[in-house]
């Protein structure tokens, strides 16, 4: 992982551009953040390793089942290096991981990188689907609701967001499967079709799980964004100025109030990503999706440390990168956050 690399250095198109990139305050900010990420990633993986190793019960015994003889158990322990001390095992894992090798699954002996490579696209597609859908719909509903506080759209948004906040993802999944797969048969109840095999079928197979993950997010986002827009509209001087100039009210809402209200939403989206590993772990098995969430649960029960570490690490990297992207987006939305005026 080229975590510490200065992003500007990769452009490599002539000295002037490289020099300019090095001096660019935004990129320097990005570089500093990327360096600060390393201890966080280390902390999360270390904590995972400790917690997984605190699990009672013998990993080799769990893998072989209750009928294994002590000799077999011992043989497997030696083969998987489970008999070595904690620090030796952790050091070995950390050293390999830094070189990009996440190790092999204790249960299947498969390469963890290969497993993640097969399963991550499914999860990534599901999460992107859920996220894009929830953010787009949340912005639409929040703007409609904030247009007239206490109007019909606003009341509707309150009811919808309260529902979304209160519904557990697995409850939503069960209701969705019952209504749309069993009764109406619009979508398949379980299974996954890959994007390359059949794009339309792929979208259909991911729609219900995406709603189950996305609807609670949509509710939180709508609630937050609506409150922020209403506050902007009531408190800020530039809104009054725009009104006095005769700018149409929808334009004030979309061009002025909305961009200035996005900060809370962006922060929340970046923070949320980490918690989503939990939602994915519950939703994917319900819909038999072959993603990383499904294997996470079985790996925890199997004490399959390398896979759990791999999944946790991937999500930690995503969360950290999302935090960085959020930082950069702030600067795009509010030029005052830049350290100096950019040339363009």
């Amino acid at each position: 992982m080229a975590v510490g690399a200065e992003p500007g250095a990769e452009t490599g198109a002539g000295m002037t551009l490289a020099q300019r990139a090095l001096r660019s305050p935004t990129l320097r900010l990005a570089g500093r953040r990327l360096l600060a990420v390393i201890p966080v990633l280390w902390g999360v993986t270390f904590l995972t390793y400790v917690v997984m190793n605190l699990l009672p019960g013998d990993t080799a015994q769990v893998l072989l089942g209750a009928n294994a003889t002590p000799a077999q158990v011992h043989q497997l322990e030696v083969r998987l290096h489970l008999n070595e001390p904690f620090w030796v095992r952790y050091g070995g894992w950390l050293g390999a991981t830094i070189h990009g090798n996440l190790g092999t699954s204790l249960a299947s002996g498969e390469n963890v990188t290969t497993i993640l490579g097969q399963r991550l696209p499914v999860t990534a597609e599901l999460l992107i689907y859920a996220f894009v859908g929830s953010i787009v719909l949340a912005v639409l509903l929040a703007v409609l609701a904030a247009r007239r506080p206490n109007g019909i759209a606003d009341r509707f948004s309150v009811v919808i967001s309260m529902t979304g906040l209160s519904v557990a993802p697995y409850v939503l999944a069960v209701v969705l499967v019952y209504v749309f797969a069993v009764k109406l048969q619009w979508f398949p109840a379980i299974g996954y079709t890959s994007l390359t095999a059949d794009p339309l079928e792929n979208i259909r197979s991911l729609t219900l799980p995406a709603i189950a993950i996305g609807f609670p997010l949509f509710a939180v986002y709508t609630r937050l964004l609506r409150a922020d827009i209403v506050e902007q509209m009531q408190r800020e001087d530039y809104i009054v100025t725009a009104r006095a100039k005769g700018v149409p009210s929808w334009q004030i809402l979309i061009r002025h109030a909305l961009p200035n209200s996005m900060f809370g939403l962006i922060t929340l989206v970046a923070l949320n990503l980490g918690a989503l590993v939990g939602a994915v772990a519950i939703i994917e098995p319900i819909f038999s999706l072959p993603g990383v969430g499904a294997i996470l649960i079985s790996s925890i029960t199997n004490h399959d440390v390398p896979i759990v570490e791999g999944v946790v690490l991937v999500f930690a990297v995503v969360v950290v990168l999302a935090g960085l992207a959020a930082d950069l987006l702030y600067a795009v939305l509010d030029p005052r956050i830049r350290y100096e005026r950019s040339a363009s």
């Binding site: 519950i282 702030y330 956050i337």
Partner: protein, 294 residues
């Protein structure tokens, strides 16, 4: 893993450093408090008191001869599950589990996290740094993964579910208590209390805690709902309340297996879970408005 905000944006603590009690914008109508509160009291009474005074069938050990009866069957108002257990009885006993876990997890978070947060926010310095770092790491860690690992490690039981979920109710309450304490720390009445010679413990008990209580209580209602959802999630995955003991989460998981034939097996516990959590959230919202908590 919250990446720090850009330097020019105020830090989260500074952003919330406004007086905790702001003027209430709109008074919530009493109905918005009493309808959800009344429903919750009724539900809790049904779960805890009904089985004591009006005998219901046992939630476990049903006869396979009575398996899969539809709702409104004689003797089984909500029918029976595929193992022949009375669904209503399992709902009531499962509800006990939900309320017990939700209450314990919230109470542990409120007391332990609240005290840690107040101590960190009031005394600042090394204690604050140490407590905040620990809370940060716990918050950054994918919570459900941690809960799953702990629940798996300790083995399925109600007490272990409570321990596993408390791991992340404590940092959440801690953070809120800390930022609330920071916000009121600089208020004039705090200075007055210090100048008049009150000791730290006295100030915390008489001034800090009463002032951050509205914030903590509204969050407690939210946290109660989240704990109920997460207990259901652990049980749904088979890592929570061990079968055959009833829990709404495991009832939903069992019902999901027979969703096309007998959807009510999954939909009935789903409805109860949703109703309980939505009441907690509506109540929390109304109280937040009433107390003017931001």
């Amino acid at each position: 893993m919250s990446a720090p905000l850009p330097d020019l944006l105020p830090a989260p603590d500074a952003a919330s450093a406004v007086p905790v009690r702001t003027k209430a914008r709109g008074q919530a109508s009493p109905l918005r408090v009493w309808i959800p509160a009344g429903f919750l009291i009724l539900l809790a009474a049904a779960c805890f008191i009904w089985p004591q005074i009006y005998p219901v069938p046992k939630p476990v050990g049903g006869s396979i001869l009575e398996a899969g009866l539809p709702p409104l069957s004689p003797g089984h108002i909500l029918g029976t599950d595929p193992n022949g257990n009375d669904v209503l009885s399992r709902i009531l006993y499962g509800g006990q589990v939900s309320f017990e876990v939700g209450f314990s997890v919230t109470a542990i978070g409120l007391v332990v996290g609240g005290l840690l947060g107040v101590a960190a926010g009031y005394w600042r310095g090394a204690a604050d740094a140490a407590i905040s770092r620990v809370l940060d790491v716990l918050i950054a860690f994918p919570a459900l993964v941690l809960a799953l690992v702990i629940a798996e490690g300790l083995g399925p039981s109600e007490l272990h579910v409570i321990w596993a979920l408390a791991i992340f109710s404590i940092p959440a309450f801690g953070r809120i208590a800390r930022s609330g304490t920071l916000a009121i720390r600089e208020q004039t009445y705090m200075l007055a209390a210090r100048l008049s010679g009150s000791r730290g413990r006295h100030i915390i008990l008489r001034h800090v805690i009463p002032n951050i209580m509205p914030q903590l209580m509204t969050f407690a209602l939210l946290g109660f709902g989240i704990a109920i959802i997460l207990e259901g999630a652990l049980s749904f995955l088979g890592l929570g309340i061990p079968l055959p003991e009833p829990s709404w989460g495991s009832m939903i998981a069992q019902g999901q297996q027979v969703l096309s034939a007998t959807p009510e097996q999954a939909l009935i516990p789903s409805a109860f879970l949703f109703a309980a959590v939505v009441s907690l959230n509506v109540l929390g919202d109304a109280l937040r408005e009433r107390w003017g908590v931001r």
